[in-house]
Amino acid sequence: MPTTSYRQALNDTLRAELTRDENVFLLGEEIGIFEGSYKITAGLLKEFGPERVRDTPIAEEGFVGAAIGAAMLGMRPVVEIMTLNFSLVAIDQIVNHAAKIYGMFGGQTPVPMVIRFPGGGGQQLAATHSQNLEVWYAHVPGLKVVAPSTPADAKALLTAAIRDDDPVIFLENLSLYNTKGEVPDGEQIAEIGKAAVVKEGTDLTVITYSRGTVIALETARQLEDEGISVEVVDLRSLRPLDRETFCASVRKTSRAVVLEDDWLSYGIGAEISASLMEGAFDYLDAPVRRVAAAEVPLPYAKALEVAALPDASDLVRVIREVLDDTSFSR
């Protein structure tokens, strides 16, 4: 299978969908002449012209809302917001409009649109440019929220998102853009709402998504050498949330750790832990643990940023604590 980067997989998929369906169009700040803040749309303006790869002014509320209206008339807009952080100025359109229009008006008009943006810290972008607020969107009925961790999933989930008739929040991650992986040729359409066991294991389950999956897989491989068998569940979809997949995994392993880049309190991990409480309580040998970010506005200074964000060493430490706690022996 050809190997490509997460960035390229996104670019290829946008190109394929623009080619396939003339109702698909892109809009966002600097996606045309500038080729995108993170170059996801490189080359597309030249190929498809300014009507289908539309540069917008700095007016997220306006252009996200415009995408909603275009979707109501049958178009399939794919909006880029430069980073999740800037979606806050558009959130009324996303949550009070895109997420509501289908249900609130009695199912008369779907809103087939995708809103893409990267989240994530770790680039020293400081407090207002490093947030992981996807849990906000994951909380909202009417939205679908997906978060691919590999180039292959980036392709298959973006294709699914574009062909879905509901508004889909498509969460990318700054630190994944340059990661590489195998991507199958030809049309690939993921099933939204399904998690995946991306590595099987027997001793403990790590549940995570996006950048966390990459860290978890590395960690799992490393622990494998020590005779610790870690199963990794990649959520892939934050709404709907595939509880059955991770509950089944934990019913098997009896131990669970959640890894996320988000702040600890009220983060994604809270819902995972609460769901395991409901779906795997009788199987748990130890409390589910959460590895998440320290609850501060993320500082610019590198040492502080590193201290605040979870990394592989935090995950390993917590896995060991859970294993020790349950008298695990190889």
């Binding site: 169009f25 009507e51 002014p57 007016a59 509320e61 306006g62 252009f63 996200v64 809302g65 415009a66 909603i68 209206g69 275009a70 109501m72 008339l73 049958g74 178009m75 807009p77 009324d92 359109q93 009070n96 409009h97 229009i101 289908y102 249900g103 609130m104 008006f105 009695g106 199912g107 008369q108 008009t109 779907p110 809103v111 087939p112 009925p141 009417g142 679908k144 879905d164 008739d165 509901d166 099933e191 939204i192 709402g193 399904k194 979809s237 709907p240 949330l241 595939d242 509880r243 059955e244 509950c247 019913r251 609460a274 769901s275 409901e278 779906g279 795997a280 309580f281 009788d282 199987y283």
Partner: protein, 364 residues
């Protein structure tokens, strides 16, 4: 209230224009619609008091000429977005009064199947794409609908266009600015209509807007702005039609300010104590329904008898709307998740309150 009382400075018709060269059936049609709205709204007010209607309920009382004039300017193929003060638009746009009343009653036969209520009237057939309750919320989607039109079709006299209605208070929120700017740079076929009824809830235009001549705010986008007397149904229609034509043919978006009055409180539960007696009197003196009636009578467009007939017809229509709404079924709890998603997906939440999200599988 200088700026709001200012004579109509723009618009295709002079203030107080006499609709003498209009075919009588057209004028009578307008009166019919105005009266229907008036009766519908007065009845909605009663029904609210009888708790048949819940939530928020905002009436078009006093705005009938504005509503009918604007709707007369729209062609069937055009799209309409409004704010939550939307009953009159729905009726004048051609929705069945029974289905509108049923929506207010929260019934399955309502235009939004009882899910939206008074603020959220919506009907794909008549191309009224909502009724929105967030101030300014309708502007970006309306702008996007106009964008879709440019991607679907070509400009010209037969092109589709979008009308986006809003209140005066709405011109101070960010979405107004962003939307008009997008329409301007993208040359979108849209007319933004400000229904200036002088008040937000209790806040006057002067207190809220640095430039209280609201139509002038088009200048920030090189967008032509006009003001028209909202109590003159024909003037409103003409001004709106001219703006819509520029939108269709030249892809020139426009801003139209329609000077109107709100006869009652902000919503049915607002006694409007903050309004001075003089302001209330001014609004009542300008009431477009009796004024238009008198105008048509004195011009011989219809007789007193015909007028009464129209009014009785309207009363009748509203009564059967209420009867229809009353006898319609309400949605039942098993339908709760019916419109959760347009494309079904795995693991969509279906839990009712108290049901766990994840199924427990007790260890044996």
């Amino acid at each position: 209230m200088t700026d709001q009382a200012a004579p109509v400075t723009a618009g295709s018709q002079a203030a107080g224009s006499f609709p003498g060269d209009e075919p009588p059936e057209v004028l009578i049609g307008y009166y019919r619609e105005m009266v229907l709205i008036r009766k519908f709204e007065l009845t909605a007010d009663q029904m609210y008091k009888r708790a048949k209607i819940g939530g928020y309920c905002h009436l078009n009382l006093g705005e009938e000429a504005t509503v009918v004039g604007l709707m007369a300017a729209l062609q069937e193929k055009d799209y309409l977005f409004t704010n939550y003060r939307d009953h009159g638009y729905a009726l004048s746009r051609g929705m069945d009064p029974g289905r509108v009343m049923a929506e207010l009653f929260g019934k399955s036969t309502g235009v939004a199947k009882g899910r939206g209520g008074s603020m959220h009237l919506f009907d794909t057939k008549t191309r009224m794409l909502g009724g929105y309750g967030i101030v300014g919320g309708q502007l970006p989607p309306a702008t996007g609908a106009a964008l879709a039109l440019t991607l679907h079709g070509k400009p010209g006299p037969d092109a589709e266009a979008v009308m986006c209605q809003m209140g005066d208070g709405t011109t101070n929120i960010g979405a107004f600015h962003e939307s008009l700017n997008l329409a301007a740079i993208w040359n979108l076929p849209i007319v933004y209509v400000i229904v200036n009824n002088r008040l937000g809830m209790g806040t006057t235009v002067e207190a809220a807007s640095g430039e209280p001549l609201l139509y002038k705010r088009g200048a920030s986008y090189r967008m032509p702005g006009e003001r028209v007397d909202g109590n003159d149904v024909v003037a409103v229609r003409e001004a709106a039609q001219a703006a819509l034509d520029r939108a269709r043919v030249d892809r020139q978006p426009g801003l139209l300010e329609v000077m109107s009055f709100r006869l009652r409180g902000h919503s049915v539960v607002d006694p409007a104590r903050y309004r001075s007696a003089a302001d209330v009197e001014e609004a009542q003196a300008a009431d477009p329904v009796p004024a238009f009636r008198a105008q048509l009578l004195s011009a011989g467009v219809f007789t007193e008898e015909q007028a009464v007939q129209i009014e009785d017809d309207a009363t009748e229509k509203v009564a059967s709307a209420v009867a229809f709404a009353d006898s319609s079924p309400a949605p039942t709890p098993d339908e709760l998740f019916d419109f959760a998603y347009a494309t079904p997906v795995a693991n969509a939440p279906q839990a009712l309150p108290g049901q766990p999200a994840a199924a427990r599988e007790p260890r044996l």
